[in-house]
């Protein structure tokens, strides 16, 4: 027993270990937790070095982002023009933009500093739903440049604004009377593009692959830096093709000692035939390491609620829009679910609308009834509009849920007034019902759709306050303790990793988030204001200061 033992002391350690919920000292050896308790930890396991740097702080289990995308690490290669402030991987705080004029002024600055006259200027995160006044037009972006192609991508992912240079290169003119090309009263194109056909053409002329860009090691490191800064020690990358090249990048990044994150990529199952996908994922499982876990297949059943492409049950969209789209035929979903289930793999299934959640639950139920398998932990991701009956069936079938609590803040007002209406919006991301019914719960950010920040996600699930300050569905609030569980042990459970991460307990990895205040003691409204001082991954400290 020559390995070094270190004991971290903190003002308080919130363990999520039912045998010892609170402690002050945690002993670490070989990257794992050796003991948790009080000052007795100092000599319980032989000689130990005392780490006092967190003596005045609060240690909680490292956060687990159960639904994030590593493509977040690529976003900051382009300028951010969103409404809400956002933090770059290097820790720089970017302010939000409150008007089109501010966005244009910022882009003019960037444009002036770009050395290469031909390179397109592509900005991301634009979010005009809270702006008063007219929409962005090509005239706004022509004011940035008439020569250089300028694109502003909306945070929703469903709209692009482009300047005249892009319209011209794409061949879009006043005489392109195509769906998805917005026009003003005089019939001129406004430069707003919607839908995959016209957006795809614009992306091709600018050479931007959007969110389908391949991730490299620096991008993964940038994602890890972004996630680590907010206390995350394990994150999913919830839609990765997992080609040989992708796997090589994941392995190279996670093998570096200073990589501050455990990664759980999920394979985009539809990139393969069912048989090939199962063979691929089964083979990849054997490549799992302590820092990189394979074994999850991702399926997407419908679109998004704010994009009006989620599948809803009666009465459909509040604004009367037609029902959304199936991204996979229901019968085909049943076949895919059954095949992966029988192969012993785990499914994480994207469902936004309640009809999609109902369908996925039904198909998992059929697979489980035909081929019983304990502890499968198939998980519905987002599952934003499930009601109590759907949650009850999910509980019966042993399914987990990962709810998109950040939506309550970022799009809650849209759901209340446009998509769901005043009644159904109350059950948006219904954490309270899920827990009451006994469904294993995680909550998430879906970064880069909303910023990764588990303390903020907790704040959303606990307070349920929209960006306009309104409480949406007070009865679905959960307690700070339940929310903390959801971003640690709860998320770990959905990844089949709750025996290794998610709580501070003997034998688990020494993965901690170090906070300046105790999330179980602050006012619920202050949850999002708690500072993350550091993370600890396998005993290694990554300081924020």
């Amino acid at each position: 027993m020559s390995a070094e033992t270190r004991v971290f002391v903190a003002r308080r350690i919130v363990t999520l270990n039912p045998s010892l919920p609170h402690a002050t000292h945690v002993a670490v050896r070989e990257g794992r937790i050796l003991g948790v308790g009080g000052p007795d930890m100092l000599d319980a396991f032989g000689p130990a070095a005392l780490e006092q740097r967190f003596a005045n702080d609060v240690i909680v289990p490292g956060f687990v982002e159960g639904h994030g995308h590593a493509v977040t690490g690529l976003m900051w290669r382009n300028p951010y023009v969103g409404y809400f402030p956002r933090t770059a991987p290097d820790g720089t705080q970017h302010p939000g933009f409150r008007s089109i004029a501010d966005v244009v002024a910022y882009l003019r600055q960037i444009e002036a500093a770009m050395p290469d006259a031909d390179r397109p200027l592509i900005a991301w995160g634009f979010d005009p739903i809270y702006f008063a006044g007219p929409r962005m037009t090509r005239a706004d972006l022509d004011a940035v440049s008439t020569r250089r192609m300028v694109v502003v991508a909306h945070v929703s992912g469903h709209i692009l604004n482009v300047n005249g240079a892009v319209l011209e290169r794409a061949g879009f003119s006043a005489d392109s009377n195509l769906d998805g090309l917005a026009r003003d009263a005089s019939g001129a194109l406004t430069g707003e593009l919607q839908g995959p056909a016209v957006m795809g053409r614009a992306n091709r002329v600018t050479g931007d692959a959007g969110l389908l860009r391949a991730i490299d090691v620096p991008a993964l490191r940038d994602y890890a830096a972004t996630a680590r800064r907010v206390g995350v020690t394990t994150s999913t990358d919830l839609a990765n093709v997992l080609s040989d090249a992708d796997v090589a990048v994941l392995r190279a990044a996670t093998e570096a000692d200073d990589f501050p994150l455990r990664l759980v990529p999920a394979m985009r199952a539809r990139e393969y035939s069912v048989a090939d996908g199962i063979a691929r994922l089964t083979a990849l499982r054997r490549l799992s390491t302590d820092r990189l876990y394979f074994g999850i297949a991702k399926l997407v059943v419908d679109g998004s609620i704010q994009g009006l492409t989620a599948r809803l049950r009666w009465p459909g969209y509040h604004n009367g829009a037609p029902n959304g789209l199936w991204y996979v035929a229901p019968a085909e979903l049943g076949g895919i679910v059954e095949a992966y289930h029988r192969a012993g793999l785990q499914l994480h299934i994207h469902t936004n609308g309640d009809e999609a959640s109902e369908l996925a639950t039904e198909m998992i139920g059929r697979a489980i009834s035909a081929y019983p398998r304990a502890d499968h932990r198939h998980t519905l991701q987002h599952c934003q509009m499930a009601d109590e009956a759907i949650f009850r069936r999910m509980q019966t079938f042993g399914m987990c849920v990962n709810l998109f609590s950040n939506h309550i803040y970022y799009w809650g007002e849209q759901h209340r007034t446009v998509t769901m209406g005043p009644s159904r919006a109350l059950r948006l991301d219904a954490c309270g019902t899920a827990l009451k019914v006994g469904v294993k719960l995680a909550i998430h950010s879906d970064t880069p759709v909303t910023p990764v920040d588990p303390l903020f996600t907790m704040w959303c699930a606990v307070n349920r306050i929209t960006a306009e300050g309104r409480v949406l569905g007070e009865a679905e609030r959960i307690t700070p303790a339940q929310a903390l569980q959801a971003v640690t042990l709860g998320a770990a459970y959905t990844l089949h990793l709750d025996h290794r991460i998610g709580s501070i307990d003997v034998g688990k990895f020494a993965d901690f988030a170090v906070l300046d205040r105790d999330p179980l003691e602050v006012e619920p409204m202050a949850l999002r204001d708690i500072s993350v001082r550091a993370t600890v991954l396998g005993g290694c400290v990554f300081d924020n200061t």
Partner: protein, 305 residues
């Protein structure tokens, strides 16, 4: 030539789209370029394969078959720039997509001319699908987008089921041409609008030509704004307008592609002005069309109002 003909083949999962595509490739008399949704389901005799490169199969009969990743537009652009050009492109839509949305790519991507939107339906399963709690609206929307319905697997449907399927199609898409077939054995001719000069006034028109065509040779340059106004007001019976015209004031040649309400009008190389209008049998009488299109001439007198 207004562009490479492009036919969208839609229809719900299991209707037989891939069987249709396989049939076309195996019996090709023209060089098809096929974009398929499920590359693995394409079943080509090994003897027919000239080269197999990742997601592309080149056939000995000159056809090429490509897997479609997320970006259909990119696939179409690649096909358009091939060294050995194809004569007609088939896009197999996914079983849950709206064929109208797929068809839009043919207007957005330069160099294509949109042929009929073909929807394959399963004669045996259709009625049931139209009452399914989860897929009814999807199947209905697909049929509503159809310009030709291929009612497949009629050998598997009993007469009552077949009659119910025909009745359902007629309710959702009144007047649409329905071709009945087995094993996806489709005639190539069904994938194109009737060619030049075949009209309902033409005694020899083949019996399936339930499309009506009308030709117009613009005698002089058109006024851009009048042309736009006319296109915006065209009746639903007009499925396509395509061809070349000259626009005032400088008589610059332009290519017009109109499909069910969407259109593009783009500068073109100088060619003889000539337009073809393709419609359903409800298409206005040629005299009415002559009057309608004549109003777009720059020299015509505006209506008194």
């Amino acid at each position: 030539m207004t562009g490479v003909p492009l036919t969208v083949i839609g229809g719900f999962l299991g209707a037989g789209k891939t069987t249709v595509v396989n049939h076309l490739l195996r019996n090709a008399t023209r060089r098809w370029g096929v974009l398929v949704n499920d590359f693995g389901a394409i079943n080509i005799d090994a003897a027919l394969i000239a080269a197999h490169d990742g997601d592309t199969i080149a056939l000995t009969n000159g056809c090429v078959c490509c897997g479609m990743s997320d970006d259909l537009g990119a696939g179409l652009a690649r096909l358009a720039t091939r060294a050995s050009p194809v004569e007609h492109v088939i896009v197999e839509a996914s079983g849950v997509s709206d064929p109208r949305r797929i068809a839009q790519y043919a207007l957005v991507e330069p160099g294509y001319s949109l042929e009929p939107i073909v929807v394959v339906a399963d004669a045996r399963a259709l009625s049931e699908q139209l009452h399914d709690r989860w897929v009814a609206d999807t199947v209905r929307a697909q049929l509503a987008a159809a310009e030709i319905v291929l009612l497949n697997k009629i050998d598997l449907a009993d007469p009552a089921t077949l009659a119910a399927a025909c009745c359902a199609i007629a309710t959702i898409r009144p007047g649409v041409r329905v071709a009945e077939l087995c094993h996806g054995a489709v005639s190539e001719d069904l994938l194109r609008f009737p060619g030049a000069r075949a009209t309902r006034f033409h005694a020899d028109a083949p019996p399936w030509h339930e499309f009506v065509t009308w030709h117009w040779l613009p005698p002089a340059a058109l006024d851009r704004e009048r042309l736009r106004t006319m296109l915006r007001a065209l009746p639903a019976s007009v499925l396509r307008v395509k061809g070349f015209c000259r626009l005032a004031p400088d008589a610059a040649p332009h290519l017009l592609q109109f499909a069910s309400g969407q259109w593009t009008l783009s500068p073109a190389d100088a060619l003889e002005p000539s337009m073809v209008v393709i419609g359903t049998p409800d298409l206005p009488h040629p005299d009415a069309l002559t009057a309608l299109f004549g109003k777009t001439l720059a020299s015509s007198q505006p209506d008194e109002s």
